[in-house]
Symmetry: C2
């Protein structure tokens, strides 16, 4: 079971969104907050491409790098407000108890993602693939392929759990079954039309319905 992080296991999407809003405003780029929300979870590079399209001008590589660094700082300042999503700790614990291998694969950087492990009550060496470790982030499949590889698992026999359409599109490209959660603030219909096999409210609801996915102790 391969998990996205933000909005899927931890309740951090809105903090990421407002951190981006603050960063872009400071750079003189006015972009509506909902448009940022709809892009969260993409790779930083694709986010910048989408941003160029919205603002109608190119963003140089060094400016993009400065924006990403400023966003990471603005997000880390908001980390004290970030909580695990209901059921996230219990879900990972239950999977471990059932000997179902799991990993986390996020478009975020090591700097923004690493603190989540303690929040989730899992070991600091739990399998975590970040943007720094692959060439292309979501909606490319690389993050989930690397996560499956880390577990020695076939991605085509894996579930990918995520809150955004970028997770579900990447799941399809990885040949995995995508499971959506609403806890990132996207609508159920958006996730279904991006190919979700099932959609649950949050990790707690997913834990309560593992039987629907045919997951049991091995």
């Amino acid at each position: 079971m391969l998990f996205d992080l933000d909005g899927t296991l931890i309740d951090s999407v809105y903090q990421h969104v407002l951190a981006w809003h603050e960063t872009l405003e400071a750079a003189g780029i006015g972009l509506s907050v909902w448009r940022i929300h709809r892009r969260i979870g993409m790779s930083g590079g694709l986010f910048i491409k989408a941003l160029e399209r919205e603002i109608g001008r190119a963003i140089a590589d060094d400016e993009a790098q400065r924006l990403r660094a400023a966003h990471a700082d603005a997000y880390v300042r908001r980390l004290p407000d970030v909580r695990p999503l209901p059921g996230a700790r219990e879900l990972l614990g239950a999977l471990s108890a059932m000997a179902v291998p799991w990993a986390i694969a996020t478009s975020g950087s090591d700097k923004t993602a690493r603190p989540a492990l303690a929040l989730l009550g899992v070991a600091a060496d739990s399998p975590l693939i970040t943007r720094d470790q692959v060439s292309y982030a979501k909606p490319n499949p690389d993050l989930f392929l690397a996560a499956a590889d880390r577990l020695g698992a076939d991605p085509r026999g894996s579930f990918v759990v995520g809150d955004s359409i970028w997770d579900l599109l990447a799941a399809q490209r990885a040949g995995a079954l995508g499971v959506g959660v609403l806890s990132g603030g996207y609508g159920r219909e958006e996730l279904e039309s991006a190919g979700a096999y099932r959609v649950y409210e949050d990790p707690a609801a997913l834990l309560g319905h593992l039987d629907e996915l045919g997951i049991r102790s091995s």
Copy 2:
């Protein structure tokens, strides 16, 4: 044309959401951010009812009043980050130029809503109906009925423009045609299934398509 305010004319939904999150956390109530987002735009009373359902216990009237006051403070602190949505000023200006009467009707209080008028570049005595002026807020129709009444207009010949399903449900109850905008962060399908006659991205897109609504200079 009767407008909701937050997420429809000004880009304030995410600030309201995180202001509620902060307020509830301070009161020892842990509620996922997306669940708050899905309730924004309801009347304060119904928000508290929904909150009671989520947390599984009753909230006394005085506690509810303290929570609402704390939320207003937390939101007002975030006001410096709130911007008009793209096209909002131009849309209100164009309607005025065409002599199409318009009003703003919001589930927010006078304290949180009044500063938006300056942000929108409209007169301080522009027609603004707030929660303080009616018995029941959205999804009850009272706010939009009062707004139509203020204009001397028949609600059944009016458009209601809003970003949330509560606006569109209230529009139906008022007998008005509901027009959705995506700028509050809800999905298009949610708004359509709540009865939106048309859905546009934001006020700028609505302004560019006024002809689709049959609105012209009178």
